[in-house]
Symmetry: C2
Subunit: 244 residues, 2 copies
């Protein structure tokens, strides 16, 4: 699968850390040692290490070594990170995913939608609304808009399973980048109608734009989560000590 050498090294190192071969605070073998172990150049080892650092698994310490900072997570709520489909996230969290399609139709982008989503006015889009279940509980209200020119042939049946699976495997499109932002918004009538909210009057909302390999924004998403089952994870690396 990972044809690139640095990727297989990255995966191997990652698995070793997850397996507990190196505990938090331990130093990895030096880069030069790893060069010998994996039979590759130092550049290649460094790429693998850089990828682990981005995942928050290790951190490089100049003149010292590479320290493991990975700690197994204690999972509670449904967590999302990276670009993942609902199905992928659900399975990663050991939940049984379910989907009910509320609406699926095509329409043209008007001024209001153009301003909100960033789609060009006049473009034809699919408008898709779904309720997402985890272990039978309705937790998420999803709104998706796809450019029909980019995602043709979308059906209710596909929407009930994985649209991303369809996009990537059937249409052969490559999803590359997504921009997302998280906000907290008031519950709407739709939220209350389809989800079990108790007395919460807020929802956790993930809004996003997804770009394909052509650099075209082909999807706009809004995912409204029940607050008590929402968790978003992130690891960040401080680049430059900003001076203010």
């Amino acid at each position: 699968m990972p044809r690139a050498k640095y990727q297989s090294i990255y995966r191997d190192m990652k698995q070793r850390i997850e397996a507990g071969e190196r505990q938090a605070q331990d130093l990895l073998p030096s880069e030069n040692t790893l060069v010998g172990f994996y039979g590759c150049s130092r550049n290649t080892v460094r790429r693998a290490i850089a990828a682990l650092a981005e995942d928050g698994y290790v951190q490089s310490l100049h003149g010292v070594g590479v320290r493991v900072i990975y700690q197994p997570v204690t999972q509670t709520a449904f967590s999302m990170g990276g670009i993942e489909s609902f199905r992928e996230s659900a399975l990663r969290n050991n939940k049984v995913p379910g989907t009910k399609v509320l609406n699926l139709f095509t329409m043209n982008v008007d001024d209001r939608i153009a301003a909100r989503t960033g789609f060009p006015k006049g473009e034809e889009i699919y408008f898709l609304q779904r309720v997402r279940y985890l272990d039978e509980k309705p937790l998420i209200l999803d709104l998706n808009m796809f450019l029909t020119s980019q995602v043709p042939g979308l059906t209710r049946e596909i929407a009930e399973n994985s649209v991303y699976d369809y996009i990537e495997n059937e249409l052969g499109m490559t999803i590359v980048t997504s921009k997302r932002w998280i906000t907290v918004e008031r519950v709407t009538e739709l939220d209350e109608k389809w989800l079990d909210l108790g007395d919460y009057n807020c929802m956790a909302v993930i809004t996003g734009q997804v770009y394909n390999a052509d650099g075209i924004m082909f999807e706009y998403t809004q995912s409204r989560h029940r607050p008590d089952y929402f968790s978003f994870h992130d690891t960040a690396v401080r680049k430059k000590p900003l001076r203010l």
Copy 2:
């Protein structure tokens, strides 16, 4: 400041994009062209491009080129991204920051705090609670715990300004990695006491652990945001099309 060549190239390219020299959808000059322009090796150009891609400014397209996908953001709410101090974020968002210290004392980590934060039991910590203002409005309730062994000499005065500034510039400690997660929680009495919440019964909560260059988790943070002024941004790159 950026002594590394690839960083100054990164900054230059970034500024040019922000200045509108290249619009979204445009292709950058090819890597080889940039090698000539900046007088460096191809690897160095590629590092700068990789950094721009992580920022969501460009995306590389195999066999095609590097496409600009940066679009100037329409700022509404207060946004936080990367590892930034409150002051840094506030200034970046053109707001006037203010701080009121509610509590600052030392204590020892008990079982309950150890379980919640990940600090070792028995360690001495600073316990700091603050209200954060933006343009005079109380919007954020901050809770910080610092290992006193790592952040000695913390005073009320420092807490009223930037603790991070103190840590990095006075103590000379380098902040490297942070893990954060975002959740939505019910309002507490403290939230209601110090913030103007209207009838919101939820808060956006950013919880995080911060590691220094020694790989020691020296800070635990909980930042409780008023929902209508909360926004968290993220760009993600899909690495491998997961097969399920």
